[in-house]
């Protein structure tokens, strides 16, 4: 082995603690990168494959009731590849074990053939026997949640009539990757069912014999989707077409896309941030090392080693640390990715989901970390090249401590010798100290920003369920009812307060920007389901316009005062031009509010309600649930506590769960930086410390010189870190926010307190490690060999 390589190995061994700390920082950055890009790819590709294999439609066209032969008109539209008409609707499932009604989505399957579009993936049992009209297939996750198996019976109420069906198979389907009850954000396997039945059975149950109420279409490669949608709408219009929409507006696909995009966005922001910190660390360590080795560098140059050869020597050191860190990070990233996949399968009903690591992820991870590390390293190497050998060989001139300001002079007068050494070094070497302060500040910023984002998640839940929504449960009706239903609810014993709501699905449009969602009609001064400003003050509804959530206003790029087009997709389907009169801070979903009477007037359906928010006496809840279950008007009941719980679970899985990983990582990095700063200071002062000891100072006094310096750096770094963290939390919070929920950047005192504690704990631990070494310092060899 060549002697320089041997030197390299010995140097690595000497700085093993620091190298490990930097390697760990790189490893976690790469871990995140590999895990997140791998997840994005796995989700994306699995979804694609699943859709193709089971022929998921690309256009969905709900219609009130169209005769069967109309489906034959659709293939004539240019760009349409295949079509299928089916019957779909909602029903209630009645389980003895559950007090509340359970909502179910029903979709039909062709009687005698496999579906041309939207096929199913049979997991257990068998497909439907067309001869038997009592058979149904059930969504696997719902069946599992209630321990229902093929062969079991299920009572289903369709259009007021209850009937017992026999479950013959458990299935999943690509159109139900993400399953939520209408109006709910987070999935809850127990409380929402999907049932497949034969077209004949469904036709009879929904009064759709010889007719369909949903057309499915797939497109050719060169199809122009907007044109197809328009043509479909034109054909279905006479039959009560409710507006065709593309796959990307299908609720299930939208949520999956949102998750993938969220992951993609987070993976573009956060791992690079972590790697940048690692690069900075590596830069500090290597530059200090080069500083300490300038004589050796000069010597190599004196012997005729070229700049390139000397540079390569140090570059190898950087590469070794970066590549080992990256490989470790890749391996850990694969393990973490596999674990995350399990979490994903809880919420996204993929038939399978393999964490696929492409070699490109691996290569990317290594490449990125090496580049990050080299960026830091190259700056240092430039300095290596600049040294002339004669200059490099002379020991660096002792730092000039002669010019010292008045305050410092006064301060030093009251200090003992070691105290003076600390003060002089800190004040006379601002660049060195500045680097250390910045490094520790960066670590602290990461930790502070991550803890603040963690509280941001809690705040989202808190704002939504304590400030905005003050009801106990929400009832939705099978179809819009007269407001007398509200009085009926009001009269139930134990019901304290009832507030009507009218939700209609609608497409909101501002120029080219559209959002498929709903308009929620609220009473003028809502008490249970409020809209609030960012200061959490309630906003009253007004006759003449809509209030948009800030996220929706952003998406549509519309400001208060401007006019929004609302294409209602219900009833007579009016198109409304409404002024936006305000925005509301909603951290969940993207709601749009309107005054309920104004909405009903626009629909020309006066005094209608589609649901209600209730506040109840918790002592009588069971009684109330049972009554609600027996009310034919009630389609579903959602309890706030359960909704909150499933949302919390959702946030704790998928992209949201990354926050735990990242917070952990932020603390690893913080420790890495603090430890490194301590080690570097120790290495630089080894000779000074040895000299002090030789002069008769005790171990404690010698250690004080070093630890005192660290303490000073630490206390300057804390406010710097707090400021940086404040800025950083905006970026990270934005990275975590999605269409589903927004994470506000919060700056709780406790978040920063946690970060400060972390930095202090890291300092104490590093200080202790360093002190242990100082105590063991071998005086003679420290004085003899300059390293």
């Amino acid at each position: 082995m060549n002697p320089l390589d041997r030197k390299l190995l010995r140097d690595l061994w000497r700085i093993k603690g620091q190298a490990a700390a930097i390697g760990a920082v790189i490893a976690v950055g790469v871990l995140l990168l590999v895990m997140m890009t791998g997840l994005v790819r796995s989700l994306d590709e699995t979804r694609q494959a699943y859709y193709e294999r089971y022929r998921l439609a690309e256009v969905f066209a709900p219609v009130t009731r169209a005769p069967e032969n109309v489906i034959g008109d659709l293939p004539a539209i240019p760009g349409v590849a295949a079509t299928e008409g089916r019957v779909a609707g909602y029903a209630l499932v009645d389980l003895d074990s559950v007090d509340l009604p359970i909502q179910a989505r029903i979709v039909s399957l062709p009687d005698f053939e496999a579906p041309r579009l939207n096929d199913i993936f049979l997991i257990a049992g068998r497909r439907l026997d067309p001869a038997n009209r009592d058979e149904i297939l059930l969504l696997k996750s719902f069946a599992d949640a209630h321990d229902i198996r093929p062969g079991d019976a299920l009572r289903v109420t369709i259009r007021g009539a209850q009937r017992a069906f026999s479950v013959v198979g458990l299935v999943q389907a690509p159109e139900f990757l993400y399953v939520t009850a209408p109006g709910e954000l987070a999935p809850d396997d127990e409380r929402y069912a999907v049932i497949w039945m034969s077209r004949a059975t469904a036709g009879a149950a929904f009064d759709m014999e010889g007719a369909f109420n949903e057309a499915l279409l797939s497109l050719t490669r060169d199809a122009r989707e907007p044109a197809v949608l328009e043509a479909v709408d034109r054909i279905l219009e006479p039959y009560g077409g409710l507006g065709a929409y593309g796959r990307e507006d299908h609720l299930s696909d939208r949520y999956v896309s949102e998750e993938i995009n969220g992951l993609r966005a987070t993976s573009a922001i956060i791992p690079p941030l972590f790697l940048a910190v690692a690069a900075f660390l590596l830069y500090i360590v290597i530059s200090r090392m080069v500083q300490a080795e300038r004589e050796q560098i000069g010597l190599m140059k004196a012997f005729g080693y070229t700049d390139l050869e000397v540079g390569a020597h140090y570059f190898k050191l950087i590469l070794f640390i970066a590549v080992s860190g990256a490989i470790l990070g890749c391996l850990a990233g694969i393990a973490a990715g596999r674990a995350m996949v399990v979490l994903y399968l809880q919420f996204y009903k993929f038939p399978f989901l393999l964490f696929e690591l492409r070699s490109s992820s691996f290569v990317l991870g290594i490449l990125v970390s090496v580049c990050a590390a080299s960026a830091g390293g190259l700056l240092v190497l430039r300095r290596v090249f600049a040294l002339t050998p004669a200059v490099a060989m002379r020991p660096p001139a002792p730092a000039d401590y002669s010019r010292t300001g008045g305050v410092v002079r006064k301060l030093t007068r009251i200090l003992d010798q070691p105290g003076r050494m600390v003060v002089r070094r800190v004040t006379r070497q601002p660049a060195l100290m500045g680097g250390a302060v910045l490094g520790i500040g960066a670590g602290m910023a990461l930790a502070a920003a991550m803890t603040s984002v963690m509280s941001g998640f809690d705040r989202t839940i808190d704002v939504n369920f304590n400030v905005i929504d003050r009801s106990d449960l929400t009832v939705s009706f099978t179809d819009p009812k007269s407001d007398k239903t509200i009085l009926e609810l009001q009269r139930l014993p134990g019901v304290i307060e009832v507030e009507p709501v009218r939700n209609v699905s609608a497409v909101l449009r501002n120029g080219l920007r559209t959002h498929r969602g709903a308009v929620e009609g609220r009473i003028a001064t809502p008490r249970l389901n409020r809209a609030v400003t960012s200061e959490m003050d309630a906003i009253d509804m007004r006759e003449e316009g809509v209030i948009l959530s800030t996220s929706l206003a952003d998406k549509l790029q519309i400001r208060p005062g401007e006019t929004l087009t609302v294409e209602v997709r219900e009833g007579r389907q009016p198109v409304l031009e409404l002024p936006v009169f305000g925005t509301t801070e909603s951290l969940l979903g993207s709601p749009a509010y309107m005054q309920i009477d104004a909405l009903n007037r626009a629909l020309r359906e006066p005094d209608r309600v589609s649901g209600a928010a209730l506040r109840i006496d918790s002592a009588r809840s069971d009684e109330i649930y049972r009554t609600l279950k027996d009310m034919p008007a009630v389609a579903s009941v959602s309890l706030k506590d359960e909704t909150r719980e499933s949302l919390q679970e959702l946030m704790d899985s998928g992209a949201g769960a990354m926050r735990y990983v990242m917070a952990g990582i932020a603390f690893v990095i913080t420790f890495g930086i603090v430890y490194n700063s301590a080690r570097i200071a120790q290495a630089e002062r080894e000779r000074d410390l040895a000299s002090l000891r030789v002069l008769g100072f005790t171990k404690g006094e010698a250690a004080f010189v070093l630890l005192g310096e660290l303490a000073v750096v630490m206390f300057v770094a804390l406010p710097v870190g707090a400021l940086l963290g404040y800025a950083l939390s905006f970026g990270i919070a934005a990275g975590f926010s999605s269409d589903l929920y927004q994470i506000p950047a919060t700056f709780g005192r406790s978040d920063f307190g946690t970060a400060v504690l972390a930095v202090l704990a890291a300092s104490v631990a590093s200080g202790w490690l360093v002190k242990r070494d100082v105590d063991r310092l071998e005086l003679v060899s420290a004085l003899k060999a300059r390293e």
């Binding site: 060549n2 002697p3 320089l4 041997r6 030197k7 010995r10 140097d11 000497r14 004589e295 050796q296 000069g298 010597l299 190599m300 140059k301 004196a302 012997f303 005729g304 080693y305 070229t306 700049d307 050869e309 002339t388 050998p389 004669a390 200059v391 060989m393 020991p395 060899s781 003899k784 060999a785 300059r786 390293e787």
Partner: protein, 244 residues
Amino acid sequence: MTNVDPTTGSLACVYRTEGLTKVYGEGPAAVHALRGVDLALPGGEIVVLLGPSGSGKSTLLNIIGGLDRGTDGTIWFRDQELSAMSDAELTHYRRDNVGFVFQFYNLMPSLTARENVELVTEIAKDPMEPEEALALVGLHARLDHFPAQLSGGEQQRVAIARAVAKRPRVLFCDEPTGALDSTTGRAVLKVLKGVNETLGTTVLIVTHAAATAGMAHRVIHFADGKIRKIRENETRLDPDKIDW
């Protein structure tokens, strides 16, 4: 003032300088380490440079050795102008022609004695075996010791082994015997003389030990950044005979 005519023997000269100056720093704090050095050194000689501390001996050595640049003046190595070379050319000049023994040993602390020598033989054209070079200075038994495990004199001998191992054309020694007792000191000088005689290497020795001058072909007296006097020895002493 000087008895050297820069034009004489210029063809046989390994080194020739004209008006070489070196100023460290600027303004009132400027230090004039060399104040116009004119020198012509024939090849194959042992040259001893004497002078008080701070007179600029190391500075001159560093500049001729290609480790540093003068502020003004020209330097020739044979027919190449050192003062006009780029950094890369200087690197090659050092790599191919020059060996150094430094005043402060300058060993690599993380390399053993043998490895310190290998550091140079690795990139030399026709080097000795590292073991052979270390045997020359009597350190064949300490091959695998780290500098921290060697005494000052032993470290200096490793430095000499390292310098001669590449069989350089020119060998610069800045106080090679400063830290050594008389016996080892003589042994080191014998090594230098041997290198000079067997390889024809020009050896330039800076020293405070005036007696060393006895073994030189040529003695240069240096003071205050200038050459005071150059003397050629008619007869040269054997290192064994040098009065320490």
